[in-house]
Point group: none
DNA sequence: CAACTTGATTGTTGTTACAATTTTCAAATG
DNA sequence: CATTTGAAAATTGTAACAACAATCAAGTTG
């Protein structure tokens, strides 16, 4: 070993030669890279993704000496993406969503006293009740002023808002084109129940 | 306006106050990020992954308005009355009811693809969707012209009616006081799903 | 002369730094 | 009391940096 640096430095090795240095694409991926910023929770998934790319680069690099057994038929190997890369949308199958909801439980408090009625007509359109909507009716709720109720007037089933003021009982429609029903003395008001929810099916 | 900087600078606004500046986790992912270096061919996959994380962050951020269906417990069938049952008091215990109904079964056709959203605002009031209504959303339904959809525009979750005519895509509000959203070229429309039912709770 | 060593060179790679942007709060304004 | 405004603090894409690895040609050794 020559420990004197001066001598060697003068007629130095290497130098600004062409084709010196490591060759392009000699990294772990065999291709240029970029820096990106990602959330920390994506790190594990990303590491899986990177490992996959490294494997593929390794395979490409040694493709002249490495062979794999032919696959039985075209059992089209799909790329083994980490987790659900393709998804992109929140999926109900995902687990880390806090609240889960049962419509039955959510909308029905008194099971024994609840039934459904399909609305007919447009007399309650301003209350958001359209023809064909499904109404959830609770018979155990005591109807008071302001409630939307299912009532029987002259043998007809109707949905109206119950008004009780100064001893006068009315069934008001929520549509200016419909008349309110003022309850006469001899008329009997039969209230089947209070509407606790209305459901509009669009499809 | 005081254009003299000296005055304002002295008792300047802001300053090194506590709790000033934007809050931690207010980014698109709701969590800290890191920079990593990845091969270029992984960029598309990474973008999908990141989009997914952004969606999940959005979902987390709106967890007070987003729900998923519960597992089918003992889905209680409740009586479903037809409208013409004029006579006396029907009881849910009665037998001569037409059908018995489970809301979960009736309103949810694809459990794996269904979630709930609580509506905010009154932009769809003429479609019978009011502030606070519960929307049943099915991701497996292909959105077409006329459907009411849940969409993400500029990171905001909205309910609108989808219009597609002559190559133009619009999100129309059903309330004259709200402007329609005309989709610009560079704007990306993300439709989370189609609203299959809306539920208005009255009690 | 073939095999090995050596040093400069150049691409890779993980991380840090930076600048532009966005979000937020409280004081100031009307 | 609602709105405006300026500074502060975080986000975010990208540039820069430093340590490292690979490569080649000249030099050295047997």
């Amino acid at each position: 070993m020559n420990n004197d640096p001066g001598d060697r430095m003068k007629n130095g090795h290497g130098g600004a030669r062409p084709n010196a240095g490591r060759t392009r694409g000699s990294g772990a991926y065999g291709e240029p890279t970029r820096t990106v910023r990602i959330p920390e929770s994506a790190m594990t998934e990303l590491h899986a993704l990177l490992e996959q790319h490294r494997q593929q680069a390794l395979l490409r690099r040694h493709s002249d000496t490495l062979f794999l057994p032919a696959q039985a038929a075209e059992s089209a190997r799909l790329p083994m993406y980490s987790h659900r890369v393709a998804a992109g949308f929140p999926s109900p199958a995902d687990d880390h969503v806090e609240a889960r909801l049962s419509l039955d439980e959510h909308l029905i408090s008194h099971r024994e006293a609840t039934f459904f009625v399909r609305a007919i007509g447009n007399s309650m359109i301003q209350a958001g009740i359209f023809d064909g909507d499904l109404l959830v009716v609770d018979r155990s709720v005591t109807p008071v002023h302001g409630h939307i109720v299912i009532a029987v007037i002259d043998g007809e089933l109707t949905v109206k808002r119950l008004h009780q003021r100064d001893g006068i009982t009315m069934l008001k429609a929520e549509n200016p084109r419909y008349r309110d029903i003022l309850l006469k003395e001899e008329q009997e008001l039969r209230i089947w129940g209070v509407v606790t929810a209305t459901i509009k099916q669009l499809l």
